[in-house]
């Protein structure tokens, strides 16, 4: 009898371990996303910008009435303020801008991006329902896109956050969110009184996307308040309601009075609101969740790309080039500044935005001092897009890992 019990108990133990593992394994694939994402895409993205203007379309034009657009979501767009929500807002914006009917949008929700069968099925369903273009919003959809693009040469597969493409009916798209993080850092730097700013990151130094975002934020802080320090705590997950709350509370306990974040729940902002301090949200405008704390939010405006892409398909100017948009293209932006912002914030942000939008200057230009005393970059030269997206494994000089 005892044996049976111990077997059952160890089963329970093993299961609880599995529960722990599974919650971290999914994000790890997303972590690779940052590692490898757009390493190739970034380079080609630059070419795309130059080539984009005069390029000939490589796909036949599709009449607007006949057009059908497929979207593959990793979650459910209705699910609060996170990733799928932001993408779907972009789809809705595209639909409105181009005047498409509801029946012309085919959504496939909750398609786990590590389940190849589900991905394949969802995309084939889109093709069968007559979609001429399919937006695949998550990293793990990449290989399926590549294979299906070959099988269905008449359908465009546009993949977010990856690095593969075939220059014809399979491209990828991503954005310079770091530019808008820099702007949000200005709001944080002007607001802080303790000169301690907290940052809840999903992943540590090994993840270039999160680390680069934190650096851009910290550089924004530094540009207006060189005395302030940015403390970063990481949760090891893209989505961890409890961990994100606890990380923010710990930062506030250590004296931080503005909380920035790169993770998917609004809990860091809610923790700030409860403690009577301030914060900068992410993904979508989080002032709807924590109106008493949110100064502004760094947001994605995927509609900028979706509209451009679908429009080019209608006009017959689809080039199959990759896309890496920023403030200039309107792909990333800041949510409207709230009344909680310090005086003069809007002017400072506008100034920096001008410089970036005009292409005169970018966040990672020139020599940058790291917090371990070393430097990166070369004087007078911009950092390459591939380095920005894949190689930032250092922290800016005013960042402290906590």
């Amino acid at each position: 009898m005892k044996k049976v019990v111990s077997v059952l108990l160890s089963a329970a133990m093993a299961l609880s371990l599995c529960a722990g593992c599974s919650s971290s394994s999914a994000p790890e694939t997303e972590a690779q996303e940052a590692e490898t994402q757009a390493a190739g895409a970034a380079e080609e993205g630059a070419e795309a910008e130059q080539a984009g203007e005069a390029a000939e379309g490589v796909m036949p034009a599709v009449a607007k009435e006949d057009l059908k657009v497929g979207v593959i979501h990793i979650g459910n767009p209705a699910d609060g303020s996170g990733y799928s929500y932001a993408h779907d807002q972009g789809i809705v914006a595209m639909q409105q801008a181009l005047g498409l009917d509801d029946s012309q949008i085919v959504r496939k929700n909750n398609v786990a991006d590590d389940d190849q069968t589900a991905i394949d099925t969802a995309m084939r369903e889109c093709v069968e329902e007559g979609c001429q273009i399919i937006f695949a919003t998550s990293w793990g959809y990449m290989d399926a896109c590549e294979a299906l693009a070959e099988e269905f040469p008449d359908v465009v597969f546009s993949h977010g956050t990856g690095y593969k493409s075939n220059g014809k009916n399979f491209n990828n798209y991503f954005g310079r969110i770091y530019q808008s993080r820099y702007l949000s850092g200005i709001a944080a730097g002007l607001k802080t009184e303790t000169n301690k700013i907290g940052y809840v990151g999903a992943w540590g130094k090994d993840n270039a996307e999160v680390t680069g975002g934190c650096n851009a934020f910290a550089m924004g802080v530094y540009s207006v308040n060189p005395d302030a320090t940015v403390y970063i705590k990481t949760t090891n997950s893209w989505y961890d309601p409890e961990g994100e709350k606890q990380a923010a509370v710990a930062l506030i306990n250590e004296g931080c009075d503005v909380i920035g974040q790169h993770c998917d729940t609004p809990n860091p902002q809610l923790a700030a609101e409860e403690a009577g301090v301030f914060g900068v949200g992410y993904n979508s405008d989080m002032s709807k969740d924590a109106p008493g704390a949110v100064l502004t939010s760094t947001i994605w405006n995927w509609g900028a790309y979706y509209t451009e892409a679908v429009e080019s398909l209608i006009n017959g100017t689809w080039t199959g080039e990759n896309y890496f948009g920023g403030l200039k293209e309107g792909l990333v932006d800041l949510a409207p500044l709230s009344d909680l912002c310090a005086e003069g914030t809007a002017e400072k942000i506008e100034e920096a935005r001008e410089k970036m939008a005009s292409g005169e200057w970018d966040v990672f230009d020139g020599v940058i001092e790291c917090n371990d005393g070393t430097t990166v970059g070369t004087e007078g030269e911009p950092m390459s897009d591939a380095d920005i997206t894949g190689n930032i494994h250092w922290y800016f000089k005013n960042v402290v890992e906590k």
């Binding site: 005892k2 019990v5 108990l9 133990m13 609880s16 606890q246 509370v249």
Partner: protein
């Protein structure tokens, strides 16, 4: 760490441990009658959803708690009917409950979100005001002690009361001893005139109610009154592990859950630059420690081990 920060760390540990207080006490009640319920996570998820939505719709904190308990009870009833009456495999049923509960909770959440204004569900001010920290005049103002002992939200005190009551019930009353006999040897208990089926149901349903309230803590307190999917997020599983740590005694759960809470938040308070420990190590700590406790407990070979002898085994009366 400054002393002030240590106090804040301890407070954070208590808050992080509170979901376990409910989940583990609930699971002990079920295991003591021989039913290993791996559906704690699911019952908590259902409670999380029911509690939040009831608070959202009715504007009442009390109704929210009652709804969470009722929903947890209903979920436990499904488990009870399947395992006690139909004698289905307890592990499979429990796992199914976890998958079902988490899914149902998220499904209802999305349903409500789609009908919400501005794409967010926020508890009304009246409810959040009631679930804030209780300020006990005099006591809460005592330096250090006031912050450590008398500065929590109502859930924390409710959890403590439930743990103490469950301890008294199981270990200090005749009924409780009878109930424990069912977990040790249902056939003998049956022969002694204890109504095995009735008490199994009572304990399993109580267990569900308590887990349900624990779930409401996740959706209401952890997320500060904003609905988020997967708010329980694996805490139910840790609760199941914590049963072993507490050696099946509700009183032990009180310190056990706070130790586990401390382990959960430790990574945010250990200074990074002093010790280069990967944060993933901290995530694994609660499970490592449970494994350690299990090893030590089995090495002691104490006769007073509190694992119910017939845990996980259904009772076929006709087989006697």
């Amino acid at each position: 760490m400054s002393s002030e920060l240590i106090i804040k760390f301890l407070v954070a540990a208590v808050l992080a441990g509170t979901p376990f207080l409910f989940g583990t006490v609930g699971e002990i009640l079920s295991e003591k009658v021989g039913h290993l319920n791996l559906g704690v996570e699911g019952m908590m998820a259902i409670g999380a959803c029911a509690g939040f939505m009831a608070g959202y719709v009715t504007d009442s904190f009390v109704i929210a708690i009652l709804a969470a308990a009722a929903a947890g009870t209903l979920a436990a009833l499904i488990y009870g009917v399947l395992t006690v009456t139909f004698m289905a495999n307890q592990n499979v049923t429990g796992l199914t409950m976890t998958i079902f509960g988490t899914g149902l909770s998220n499904f209802v959440g999305v349903y409500m979100l789609e009908r919400s204004e501005g794409g967010t569900l926020k508890l009304p001010e009246r409810v959040t005001a009631q679930m804030r920290n209780i300020d006990i005049p005099g006591l809460s103002d005592i330096p250090v002690l006031g912050e450590l002992l008398f500065s929590y939200n109502p859930f924390v005190y409710l959890g403590l009361v439930i743990a103490v009551l469950a301890g008294i019930y199981l270990y200090k009353t005749q009924t409780g001893l009878n109930v424990q006999a069912i977990g040790e040897n249902p056939a003998a208990a049956d022969a002694a005139g204890i109504e095995v089926t009735k008490w199994r149901y009572i304990n399993i349903l109580l267990s569900g109610a308590i887990c349900g309230i624990g779930g409401a803590y996740c959706s209401m307190i952890i997320n500060s009154g904003v609905w988020l999917r997967d708010s329980v997020g694996g805490l139910g599983w840790i609760s199941v592990a914590l049963v072993i740590f507490a050696s099946w005694k509700p009183i032990n759960v009180i310190y056990g859950s706070f130790v586990f809470g401390a382990l959960r938040v430790l990574k945010y308070y250990v200074p990074k630059n002093t010790y280069a420990i990967p944060t993933a190590f901290f995530d694994a700590l609660p499970f490592l420690i449970t494994a350690l406790v299990l090893v030590i407990a089995s090495m002691r070979k104490s006769k007073r081990s509190h694992i119910p002898a017939h845990l996980g085994v259904n009772y076929f009366r006709e087989e006697r």
